[in-house]
């Protein structure tokens, strides 16, 4: 009993729900509602089909321009309707609670259409429609209520045409720009309607259409059409924000004839492009993999002459004090120790070395040349390196091979005086004097007497090694060469246009400085040859240099604290080095045929009187001498 009751209730519920949801002749709106409710509309349609008698109903209401709308009805299958005029349309505008049903303003019985003009149309207000028969039977479906904006289906666009945009290089495909006018019925210019367009196209004989995205502009590009194929294009519109599309426009046909393919040209260009790209990639790979080697080849390191024991970094950093110290012979005791460390593996470093033990002279660049020896007529004392006369020294700047008697220290002293400077200016500033050899020869006995039996190689320095080039243009030669000092005959004042040298006492292996006056510079540069002799302990900041005066003058030790320092100094000093009146600056007169520098040998001069005082006692900026000081110097 209870079960049957509940079952009955359930049945009742089901039936009522069914009744509720399905009404015969249900509204057209269900068919045209948004797509999400399509499930519902299908359900209703099914119900409708089941119901056999179809009462009069509205089939569709549509607006084209959001200002007017029209509705169509169908009489259904009721048999008692004889003429279409019997059905009347009534509408209700639900904009106020007290609204009434009014009759259709404009009938078109032929089409079974009711037209609402602009005066009777209100947007955003729900309309409800009903059909009334003869006996005041109303066929009303509540689903037939709508707002006009929801039933808008705009007209299709007009004046379609197309233009060819571009054809692909292969000639196989092309792009087309389709343009049109908005439908005249839609008032777009006042902004009342905002319309979007959807283009669809297909090949002539195809069945499915390709649709492009809806967009609001009145033109659109279709990409990638094939040449030689005819295409059919049509467009439809809808209101922005609403789902209903209008009808399609008339189709237009697009066709582009095939352009004769320039296949070969295309292929060739492709092949070329890829080939070039591949080659470029290969080259890149090679370059990247052999970077180091290529760098060496393309940008070889500039060989810089180096002084044994002098770190070129010192020069770079401008630490001239330390440099002075070193060159002053500060490392006299110490240089030897690290000279070899620095430059052991750099055979091209030019050293002035004594290689009496050195049997492998041939390997190093600092080979002894017999030229100086020969020129000076000095006995060749060194054994190993001296080659026969037939072995000319054809390397400019090569240090002469010195006699074995030369102590190692002296060698180092000499070497130390070579500053790793600007070698590129070397030859510009050195003007070897052709007469150098002769003068050298003359001076050789001088040196010999001066030195303690030191090898005469000092005198034989026809080739001087440029140790440094001063910024003013002066050249600093290694001070271990007396000849150079002796070559400094020309006075500064005389030498305006040429390099001038000063040599101090030639005879005395005193500490002398060379003042080399490059062309018209007016400045003299100074270097202290004494650096070499300076014991390592005493650093002489800033005073590495002394001027060598145009006249042979007694040079003063640059460092007051070290009177005995000049390596070259006094011939009678036990410390006399071979660097006796070594000219720090030598004028290179020219290059001889063997590409060796011929220096201006200091002219033989009487031993210059001792300078009472070095006018340049005060530290002078290296490289520069003020004219008044210069006057002092030269006085």
């Amino acid at each position: 009993m209870a079960v049957s009751l509940s079952y009955d209730l359930l049945l009742l519920l089901v039936i009522s729900s069914l009744d509720w949801s399905s009404t015969p002749g249900s509204a057209f709106l269900t068919d045209h509602n948004r797509m999400t409710s399509s499930g519902r509309s299908e359900k209703k349609q099914q119900k409708r089909e089941r119901a056999t008698p179809v009462e009069p109903h509205f089939t569709e209401c549509m607006s084209r321009d959001l200002e007017t709308f029209r509705c169509w009805w169908s009489p259904g299958t009721f048999h008692n309707l004889s003429s279409p005029e019997e059905l009347r349309v009534f509408y209700l505008k639900r904009n106020s609670p007290s609204s009434e049903w009014k009759e259709c303003p404009e009938y078109s019985h032929l089409n079974r259409e009711c037209f609402f003009d602009a005066n009777h149309t209100s947007i955003w207000i729900p309309y409800c429609l009903q059909l009334r028969g003869q006996n005041n039977i109303t066929y009303f479906n509540e689903d037939d209520c709508f707002s006009v904006e929801n039933i808008v289906r705009p007209d299709p666009p007009v004046s379609l045409n197309w233009t060819l945009l571009i054809v692909s290089p292969s000639g196989l495909s092309y792009d087309v720009m389709v343009s049109w006018e908005p439908p005249p019925s839609a008032d777009v210019s006042t902004g009342w309607m905002r319309i979007e367009y959807e283009i669809q196209y297909r090949e002539r004989n195809a069945t499915t259409w390709e649709a492009l995205e809806t967009q609001p502009h009145t033109q659109q590009t279709i990409y990638g059409l094939q040449a030689g194929t005819e295409y059919e294009v049509h467009i439809r519109t809808k209101m922005k924000g609403f789902p209903k599309f209008g009808d399609f426009s008339d189709s237009i046909f697009v066709k582009v004839t095939e352009i004769p393919l320039r296949e070969s040209a295309v292929l060739l260009t492709l092949v070329l492009t890829f080939g070039v790209a591949g080659i470029l990639i290969l080259i890149m790979l090679i370059v990247v993999s052999h970077q180091q080697r290529l760098m060496m080849i393309l940008l070889p390191p500039v060989p810089a002459p180096k002084i044994k024991g002098i770190d070129s970094e010192l020069l770079k950093k401008g630490k001239l004090e330390e440099l002075d110290f070193i060159l002053n012979g500060g490392g006299l005791g110490g240089l030897p120790t690290y000279i070899s460390d620095y430059y052991q593996d750099e055979p091209w470093v030019e050293f002035i070395e004594v290689d009496e033990e050195d049997a492998d002279c041939g390997e190093k660049e600092d080979q002894k040349s017999s030229d100086t020896q020969r020129l000076l007529g000095l006995p060749q004392r060194s054994v190993g390196c001296f080659s026969a006369d037939s072995h000319p020294d054809d390397d400019s700047g090569r240090a002469s091979c010195y006699d074995t008697d030369l102590s190692e220290q002296d060698t180092h002293l000499l070497a130390a005086s070579l500053l790793p400077g600007q070698p590129e200016d070397e030859e510009a500033f050195l003007h070897p004097d052709e007469k150098a050899p002769a003068s050298e020869t003359n001076k050789s006995p001088l040196i010999q007497t001066e030195s303690e039996g030191k090898p005469t190689w000092i005198n034989t320095d026809l080739y001087a090694q440029v140790s440094n080039v001063m910024p003013s243009g002066g050249v600093v030669l290694s001070p271990g060469q007396q000849l150079r000092i002796q070559e400094n005959t020309e006075k500064e004042s005389q030498k305006k246009g040429t390099l001038g040298e000063d040599t101090s006492k030639l005879n005395k292996p005193q500490f002398q400085l060379l003042v080399v006056d490059p062309d018209g510079s007016g400045y003299t540069s100074e270097i202290t040859a004494r650096q070499i002799s300076t014991p390592p302990s005493s650093l002489v900041p800033g005073e590495g240099y002394q001027t060598i005066y145009p006249q042979p003058m007694e040079t003063k030790p640059a460092a007051p604290s070290e009177p005995n320092q000049s390596p070259y100094i006094l011939p009678d000093s036990p410390q006399t080095r071979l660097f006796a009146p070594v000219a720090d600056y030598t004028v290179v007169q020219e290059l001889d045929t063997h590409q060796s520098l011929l220096l201006n040998l200091p002219t033989q001069q009487p031993p210059p009187p001792c300078l009472p005082q070095h006018p340049l006692k005060a530290p002078v900026a290296i490289g520069y001498v003020t004219p008044d000081l210069l006057g002092n110097l030269s006085s």
Binding site: S37, R94, P97, S122, I123, W124, T190, R194
Partner: protein, 230 residues
């Protein structure tokens, strides 16, 4: 080497900054009246309008989506249209219901109507969002959309106020359109009818009103700056 890098990089940064600033300045200059055309001074106003219209279109789109989602979920057995219209709380605001009416109405009035509508929907949408987030059956997607909708009303109101301001500055409309869209003015008349509306009805009403706002804005734009894209 490192010492060199810093000044070099500083120089490069300075150069790049200069280039960009010059670019920006040229861009700015380009956006405002490159040539002295008549009506060129209205270009910024047209841009403002466009932005606001886009905003309103987006708002309408979201409301549309939400409305259809609601229909899916609730499957109202009947077409609710007939019932709903009586319940929209904004029915009291007199709005032009046709194209001619909208064109005949004064610009100031149209702007005011738009603002009134926007203000009227501020609170209801906020509450709608609250109630939506409490229902478990709604996806996060819907909840986000309701929040977005609620925010958009705020933003759109600000945007429309800016447009009105600009128009007043340009002398296009009179200064009668003030901040009349203050919520206090409306609340008294509304008496919070919307609280009694169902969610679905609310959505339906808002969908309709957002369409109204969109239309009115577009009409206003095309009346004031017709040359710039109508």
């Amino acid at each position: 080497m490192m010492a060199h890098i810093r000044p070099v990089s500083a120089v490069w940064v300075g150069i790049i900054c200069l280039v960009f600033s010059s670019r920006l300045s040229t861009m700015k200059a380009a956006s405002i009246c490159p040539n002295d055309q008549t009506g060129c001074h209205l270009l910024p106003l047209a841009n403002l309008f466009d932005r606001v219209i886009q905003h309103s279109a987006r708002m309408h789109g979201i409301s549309d989506d939400l409305h259809s989602e609601f229909e899916l979920y609730f499957l109202p057995s009947k077409n609710q249209i007939g019932r709903v219209s009586r319940n929209c709380h904004t029915s009291t605001i007199l709005t032009p219901n046709g194209k001619e009416n909208a064109q005949r109405i004064a610009r100031e009035e149209l702007a005011e109507i738009i603002l009134k509508l926007l203000v009227a929907w501020r609170d209801p949408l906020w509450h709608f969002h609250q109630s939506m987030s409490q229902h478990d059956e709604f996806t996060n997607f819907s909840s986000n959309k309701s929040l977005e909708m609620s925010d958009m009303v705020h933003e759109l109101r600000k945007g429309v106020l800016k447009v009105v301001e600009k128009m007043q500055m340009l002398g296009i409309i009179s200064n009668s359109v003030g901040d009349t869209g203050s919520p206090e003015a409306l609340l008294t008349s509304d008496s919070a009818e919307w609280r009694f509306m169902k969610d679905y009805d609310l959505l339906y009403c808002f969908r309709r009103d957002s369409n109204k706002i969109q239309n009115y804005l577009k009409i206003l734009k095309c009346r004031i700056v017709p040359k710039h894209g109508c």
